[in-house]
Symmetry: C2
Subunit: 235 residues, 2 copies
């Protein structure tokens, strides 16, 4: 029997229209997939409805994968693929297994020789990089910065140094309620000539993407508190 | 008068159907945009037709941006935005200003306080990372490896070291006709336990994405000659 596939299914970044950020192929895939691995069932159900799934949601199977999941359970999550069924890995926001826990499932799929098919969707990291004007031939995504003050200062200095010396754009994020603090830290720690891109609410109506020098940022009041934001230091 | 926008318009990666990889918003944008900045006019016209542009192609304006473009000319490329017109920056394949020359235009837009709107589309780099099963919370894209043999060996060793020590997935590419040579180099230089993902023909029918250890790759004959390929070393 032909095995099923593991589809990596992207999700909208907040409240944007599905058709604005997700190609229609995703609609065909969700209509041929009954089993989903998700971070949270409630938001997954909501997304699948919004994305036009035709089958009643209660007929679908959901398996959760988040920080509370026992990794022993996960080893059974892909069993039905051997029987020819497709399984979908859904992200909470954006692309699965980029800046989220999904990569463990993908690893398991490769071990079992299961075909992994990634589908196109919005990635705030990539969209911010495109719109920053910074070097897109060499870049790094660093996830969250450390919380400890000294480590955080050192990390920011290291990112600034890498951006300047290696011409490698340095992308990072912060828990949204700490965004203003991070922006203040960057203004205080980085050299006035360093270029910073701040990309807020990507793909939403309130989207705002600004690239300016640290000295210009000092004269600019930007309200990024509690809004999803991607930061990039680059050249 | 309200200024126009600079839209960053993604393109298919080779011969896939537009609806499979590009959201329908792109269709609305190209039908409200008459001026395009492109690497090569011929392929841009072909893509716009395939993406469903309604206006006759001969009524559009094209400006080229590639290695032959005089940078003094480029400074005028966004002039009509001040008069309220939209301008589209198109990539040859995938997302503009990631691994292509577009970022100079985006930089110029930020200098002129022009709104930059990135649109969702296929990025072989991001899709390969998603499907690799490697760490997606920390990764770097390194572009092309050096051609000089000693520099190349050193670079591969450095990428392997960064992937292991920093748990930072290392993404890189090669000119397609040298893919087999690079794969051989990786088999020869990297440690047998190092994990390598090779992602070929992403989004096409012939797509193949395999993650395995270097020792497994040694027993595996993979024909990646002249096919667009993304390589990732990761954990």
């Amino acid at each position: 029997m032909k095995k099923g596939n593991l589809y990596l299914i992207p999700c909208t970044l907040g409240d944007s229209a599905v058709a604005d950020v997700i190609p229609s192929l995703v609609n065909s895939v969700i209509n041929s997939t009954d089993i989903y691995i998700v971070e949270e069932i409630k938001t997954a159900r909501r997304f699948l409805k919004k994305a036009g799934i035709l089958k009643p949601i209660d007929d679908l199977q959901f398996r959760t994968l988040n920080e509370h999941t026992d990794l022993n359970t996960v080893s059974n999550y892909l069993n039905e693929i051997v029987d020819g069924k497709n399984i979908g890995l859904l992200s909470e926001a954006g692309c699965p297994s980029v800046a989220d826990p999904g990569s463990e499932i993908v690893k398991l799929a490769h071990k079992k020789n299961i075909k992994v098919i990634p589908l196109v969707g919005p990635s705030s990291i990539l969209l911010a990089l495109m719109a920053s004007g910074f070097n897109g031939q060499n870049f790094a995504f660093n996830g969250y910065l450390p919380k400890d003050k000294t480590e955080r200062i050192n990390k920011i200095k290291e990112l600034e140094r890498l951006a300047n010396i290696k011409k490698q754009s340095q992308i990072f994020i912060e828990t949204p309620y700490r965004n203003m603090q991070l922006l203040d830290d960057l203004k205080y720690i980085c050299s006035p000539a360093t270029m910073l891109c701040v990309a807020v609410d990507i793909t939403l109506n309130s989207e705002k993407i600004i690239t300016a020098s640290i000295s210009d940022w000092k004269n600019y009041n930007s309200d990024i508190n509690k809004r999803p934001t991607v930061f990039i230091i680059g050249t």
